[in-house]
Subunit: 105 residues, 2 copies
DNA sequence: CTGTATCCTTTTAGATACTG
DNA sequence: CAGTATCTAAAAGGATACAG
């Protein structure tokens, strides 16, 4: 299901980075705190398969690979950005709700 | 992290249902195809802890419990709805991309 | 009706090593 | 640089039983 792809932490974070422009593998790795090489690789492969992200290899030595949002991926990122902004803006409210909930137990 | 809560299939689907109005436990279960009692219960507890969903128990026999979006949850649902709409609208494009990707291997 | 607890199986994630 | 393969440990998920 498509929901399962969207409902993935790394998917959301990768798309957020790619929204700023094309990015190489290890650069993505550095930009996304906590992601492992394996998780990045697997998630990029799925996004590529879904037609949301493009992968371009340049025949340099060593090889250079650039990931970018496709047109479809760009329309998705327009829906994801408000969600991530909401999370950043409201995180304090969520943390406060958690404190209250925990203190009631 | 808040991302992990948002990046959850059941969270998105539960919020979509609650956006239509308050709902009881077993009604949610029926509306959300494939969710187990355990998954529904656990996800509702987390959403309640995060202050996104409220839980109200009515002292009937047997007990009646109503779940609803809080004010905070409502603001979140405003960001989630476009994402779910995107998924519904674009699913054919994604499936076509998958077919092309798979046929290239 | 609305859950929690437990057991058990299946997935997933992390670390490490290795390749073009 | 950009990955894949493998192994293991941890986490998640399903089924069942039971309780207020």
């Amino acid at each position: 299901m498509v929901f399962e792809r969207l409902a993935d932490k790394w998917t959301l974070l990768i798309i957020r980075v790619l929204r700023q422009g094309p990015c190489r593998f290890n650069q993505l790795r550095r930009e996304i705190e906590g992601i492992s090489q394996k998780a990045l690789s697997q998630t990029l492969r799925k996004l590529e398969r879904d037609g949301l992200v493009s992968r371009t290899a340049f025949p340099t030595v060593p090889v250079t690979v650039e990931y970018a949002l496709t047109g479809l991926g760009d329309t998705l990122s327009n829906r994801i950005t408000p969600l991530l902004s909401w999370a950043e803006d409201q995180i304090q409210h969520v943390l406060e709700a958690q404190r209250q909930y925990d203190s009631r137990q």
